[in-house]
Symmetry: C2
Amino acid sequence: MLRKDRIGAREVAEHAGCSVSAVSLVVNGKDSGRISAELRERVLAAVTELDYRPNRSARSLVTGDSGTICVVLPDPANPFFGDVLAGLGAAIGDGHTLALVLPTSGTDYDQRTVLRAYSLDSAGVVLISPGEPVLRGLVPRCPTIVVDGPGRTPALPRVDLDTVAAGELISDHLTGLGHRGFGYIGPKSDKPTFRTRRSAFLDRVAGADVVRTLDLPDWDPLAAAVTTAAVLPGWLDSGVTAVVCADDLLGYGVLTALDRLGRTGIAVVGMGDLPFSQLCRPALTSIDFGGRRAGESAGRSLLSWIDTGERPRRVRVPAKLIVRASSEKG
Amino acid sequence: MLRKDRIGAREVAEHAGCSVSAVSLVVNGKDSGRISAELRERVLAAVTELDYRPNRSARSLVTGDSGTICVVLPDPANPFFGDVLAGLGAAIGDGHTLALVLPTSGTDYDQRTVLRAYSLDSAGVVLISPGEPVLRGLVPRCPTIVVDGPGRTPALPRVDLDTVAAGELISDHLTGLGHRGFGYIGPKSDKPTFRTRRSAFLDRVAGADVVRTLDLPDWDPLAAAVTTAAVLPGWLDSGVTAVVCADDLLGYGVLTALDRLGRTGIAVVGMGDLPFSQLCRPALTSIDFGGRRAGESAGRSLLSWIDTGERPRRVRVPAKLIVRASSEKG
């Protein structure tokens, strides 16, 4: 085998019997529709055989590929973040490496996780739903965008979810249906996104006959169902007829609890519009925060910032109420 | 600000007024329970202020931190992979950076995505559910483990899901309940994991009265419900009384289709035991492939390989059948 430090795109091209630009297209993921599958296979075989490792700065000069874009988010198992990632991927395209830096312990990330993302020599970083301590004193080391961030993130451009509109849309919908007794279930969390979801809804129903709240220690919908089942009978006796949840996962737990109690006619509304909200029975009324659109917007802003050096503006993605059977008149 | 190339752990320690070992603990995520929250904040502030970027090889010498472990998987939105990631994170611990390299287009990855993972200077790589073309001719550039891989992956250690046992457990369960007419629904996919799920079940019920199959073009449970709703009446008329799905997501679609058709008493079984299988009604009988255990096993094997240089053995994670209401006698 040749010495690794002598291997360049030219050597790969010679080995594969093709042009340097064909190698460049394949290595940078821009070959789709431009070269044949057979040539692509030959280039990949040559890359592997010669152990060719494209040099990032050389790549950048030749192809405009700006390297790795790192994403940090709290919980890869929550489908909402899958939507945001899909939007980011679509906007960023195949010319960059998209890497998700995961917290290796616990269900949320801290500032060390962000420092690790920077240490991967990233061209850009996207921080999704960070807690306030993550951003406190953080000095960005490359273009960095916050999606669903706290109320104040002075140094960084943001893509916001409209968590205030979420609370208002839900309260208006339920009040319009005649409900006067409300329960609110959310996670025990300091995250600004959950504080706002809660306060926007509770402020709006402050004059209602009955308002009850429950803070859950975790996200597990089955645990939510069990805890909720314990408090629901008291809530219903006191006049609660509509239960609002900070996340659809918790909403599924409430639907299960109501089912086990044999109670019907209670309205349930979630937030986040996860895929199963269409499939569960009754289908769950929810807020579509536009996770995919938020991801696309963050991806586009980040690319433009990397390319032009110009800080992008703040963006707010509108929220929509999706009314389903769980909040129809029972 | 000092010149970046002069900044080491010593300078950070001086700035924060603490020991070099305290800096090392924080930077390597090993401070939990060993130093105060206040000291940790001070170290992080100094790291940020001085723009300290720990040198990986220096870190490795001092702390044993071997850097980044890269994971590549097809679809971050599928909750099964969330389980595998949680297991990997638990086994790998907070001393490494765990990074997920995502395909930026489409819903699966190819060999380029893997080459990108290698180009991040990884200490180890985990490839989850790769298709055969991903591994063809691939030369691993660091310890690399395959989870849920194809039947033959000669060069790489593997953690296997027991997809053969899955088909056998389901056929034995349904046959034991007296079913003699079966439908099988899976994705139109060349992935070995889906070929095996399908063949293991169909081989076992080859002598049944009726066997029908349906290949779906995508994973969307709502699309699955629509397509399934179109074929189900014919299947049921021909004597199908039990429907087996290659994945719980498809199972939710079948439950919805049966509900819309107003049909009861048809057994439905999924594979993967996703969280909602406990919550949907009827709760979905499924195969627990032990995703979390597979992730833990892959993480432990990889760390040991990195540390000792010794290739780990192949591991098979046992599958379990979780019987729920969807396959009880209707």
